[in-house]
Symmetry: C2
Subunit: 109 residues, 2 copies
């Protein structure tokens, strides 16, 4: 799932038009359109500030959107800072091990 797709999905789910969202966020419609279509002038995603406001407006999970936009949410960043060794280790693990770890965490939630 791409960032823009998800944004559109959220917007449509709430029966909102681009115009409405644009107005509420006080940005231009064309910008919203470009965001949803991933056609920003440069860079693939809007700024974190924008995403923050957008998540608010669409009652969406900000971290989910940040992750889709390939940005690291503050919640995760602060964990990394507190525990760098753990995360460096995770970074070195292969995908299968990570998947396995995810499973084990989900089970004993």
């Amino acid at each position: 799932m791409q960032f823009g797709e998800r944004v559109r999905e959220l917007r449509v789910q709430q029966g909102l038009t681009q115009q409405t969202v644009a107005d509420r966020m006080s940005v231009s419609v064309s910008y919203i359109s470009k965001v949803e279509n991933g056609k920003l002038h440069f860079g693939d995603y809007p700024s974190e500030k924008f995403i923050h406001k957008l998540a608010d407006e669409l009652k969406a999970d900000e971290d989910e959107l940040l992750l889709l936009a390939d940005k690291v949410p503050a919640s995760i960043r602060s964990r990394i800072r507190q525990n760098p060794e753990l995360f460096r280790r995770l970074a070195q693990m292969d995908r299968r091990s990570l998947k396995a770890l995810e499973k084990s965490l989900v089970s004993n939630k």
Copy 2:
């Protein structure tokens, strides 16, 4: 330990002057000074590109410096992208659980 402190420490350990480092990196001395003192006009830390070069020049561990500068090293970022759910979950765990997890990972490395 703060980013700037660590940079100074590394520089002094190698008997280098700010001027030397500045020259080698082809930036101005004043910039190096500000970096070490955390007095950048804006933002608290230099760019990732700068940190990369700096780590190189000071023969330091780039990821260590990145983490001190509250940035997420590419190695970790790419893992997050591949596995966002895992990392969201980790972000929600408390410190004790994370410590425990780290221990378990170290043991069955």
